[in-house]
Amino acid sequence: MSRVLIIADHDGKRLGGGAARCVTAAGKLGAAEIHLAVLASPGGPIAAEAAQITGVSKVLVVERAENAHPLAAVLAPQVVKLAAGYEYVLAASNTFGKDLLPRVAGLLGVGQVSDLMSVEGPHTFKRPIYAGNAIITVESPADVKLVATVRTASFAAAAGGGSAPIEVVGTEAALPAHTRFVSLNAANNDRPELQSAPRVISGGRALGSAENFKIIYALADRIGAAVGASRAAVDAGYVPSDLQVGQTGKIISPALYVAIGISGAIQHLTGIKDARTIVAINKDAEAPIFEVADVGLIGDLFKIVPELTALLG
């Protein structure tokens, strides 16, 4: 029976939302054991969170001072040491995993499956290409260690309530000094996290300014939703870049997604295809967003959004 090693995503303080989804994906591989590795300093709090994910057989903690901030060049040699004895190495396909895993694969001398979206067999997987406009089924040789990033929107998070043993492990890997953390300008935000929120309200170019974008925040706050945005809204500086949804931003799967003043370019739609209910508010009846929306409302957002916020109060 095979073994799966998942590299837990974190921001240095808290476990990211991707790990629990990777556990669900790993469960479909028919593996005997699923281990979750936490490379952090301090590692304790993150490991304690990780241990609660059901389905995890063991949490491995590598607590070196160098791991205080997740730098791929520093983490990758340690992951390579840890990966011995595992048939699969997985991480979430968020910026943590996308940065780290190809470097791990490079060091291991193997290829990678990016954005694994379904497990068809122990060595056969589906993944999207062309912004999700085509899905390929790929097969990897059984005797090659499989390195993959997991498309988190395709897998539900494994439940909490578990209590996996936590094992502190050392790696003697020599770590490079050529890459140094300077700072993280975190969007300090009391709102729900975009990637895991069950409800998301997104605004597009039509909002016209950061000031106007406040009506999106107000609506989101009214129903406890996270806020998202199109690339155009981010590029124009209305909102920070970590709110971008789409092919090159975040891929999300909320129960409710409300696109307001967003035209529905394919690059944006890629990010929301897995939403259960998509609502579109747009003044242009021909906007492509209406082709994918479950519920559409044609009209001026500057009239509709305040009315909606008021009605939900």
């Binding site: 730098l71 791929a72 060049a73 968020n94 910026t95 943590f96 996308k98 940065d99 780290l100 190809p102 470097r103 791990v104 694969a105 490079g106 060091l107 290829g111 990678q112 499956v113 990016s114 954005d115 999207p128 290409i129 062309y130 999700g132 406009n133 085509a134 899905i135 390929i136 089924t137 790929v138 097969e139 990897s140 490079p176 890459t179 140094r180 300077v182 993280l184 300008n185 975190a186 969007a187 409800r199 129903i223 690339r231 870049s241 970590d242 092919q247 090159t248 975040k250 409710l256 394919i266 209910t277 998509i278 994918v292 929306a293 479950d294 519920v295 559409g296 409302l297 009209g299 909606l308």
Partner: protein, 249 residues
């Protein structure tokens, strides 16, 4: 310092690709091809670094069939000093692209490699990081700002939790995010000038690289389509509909 920029020929981002009915791939006949948009951004950044006097030469490198010369000529028209086409008609996995670029890096004595963070055809997002691993040099993925000074690059990266700033020693590999810059437009005289710029053609064997594909693509499917929904006429109707669907209480 010489800068290498990776250039990939991909289906233009405005094209809505169609999966072939027999599941053998996507239909590419007669489809408009362009430089991968992220590679254009990578090239623009390299040109700006050179224009600031911090690089001596920008070399655009592509791997692919003969036709890729069109995209390399565009790169030259944008301002690359010269181009290298590594001719290869087979599909090349990111790992082999990284191995090939590494061979070029060794041959040319490259001080900085800038690639796109992903190509919009296979959306793999691997090549830069794999190249950095094989080269045993730092990587800055998803860069949205780069400052170069005294053999060090200070870069901002777009990460899920915000903007991270890191510092790396050169040589290094940087992958470009969308907001790194806005690529310049090519002007007609530039196209004329580009015709005279050197475009060398080589192949994997000459570079000492042999392809070692790992994956077999068994089939290509169209994604499941979302059914067209309903239209509501006003806000009260919208709220009623969402409550009915159980997504609002």
């Amino acid at each position: 310092m010489k800068i290498l920029v990776g250039v990939k020929r991909v289906v233009d981002y405005n094209v809505r690709v169609r999966v072939k009915p027999d599941g053998s791939g996507v239909a590419l006949d007669g489809v408009k091809m362009s430089i991968n948009p992220f590679d254009e951004i990578a090239l623009e950044e390299a040109l700006r670094i050179r224009e600031r006097g911090q690089a001596t030469e920008v070399i655009a490198v592509a791997i692919g069939p003969e036709e890729v010369q069109t995209q390399l000529r565009s790169a030259l028209a944008m301002g690359a000093d010269r181009a290298i086409l590594v001719k290869c008609d087979a599909a090349v996995e990111p790992r082999d692209v990284a191995r090939t670029l590494l061979a070029v890096i060794g041959q040319e004595g490259i001080g900085l490699a800038i690639l796109g963070k992903q190509a919009i055809d296979d959306d793999a997002g691997q090549t830069g990081q794999m190249l950095a691993a094989l080269w045993d040099r730092p990587q800055v993925s998803f860069a949205s700002k780069i400052d170069i000074k005294d053999g060090v690059a200070v870069a901002m990266r777009e990460v899920d939790s915000g903007i991270e700033t890191i510092e790396v020693d050169l040589p290094a590999v940087i992958t470009s995010d969308l907001r790194l810059n806005e690529p310049r437009y090519i002007k007609l005289p530039d196209i004329m000038k580009a015709k005279k710029k050197p475009l060398a053609i080589t192949d994997m064997a000459t570079l000492g690289v042999s392809l070692a594909p790992q994956f077999k693509v068994l089939k290509t499917d169209a994604p499941p389509q979302r059914a067209r929904g309903i239209m509501v006429k006003d806000v009260p109707e919208l709220v009623a509909e969402l409550k009915k669907r159980g997504v609002l209480s």
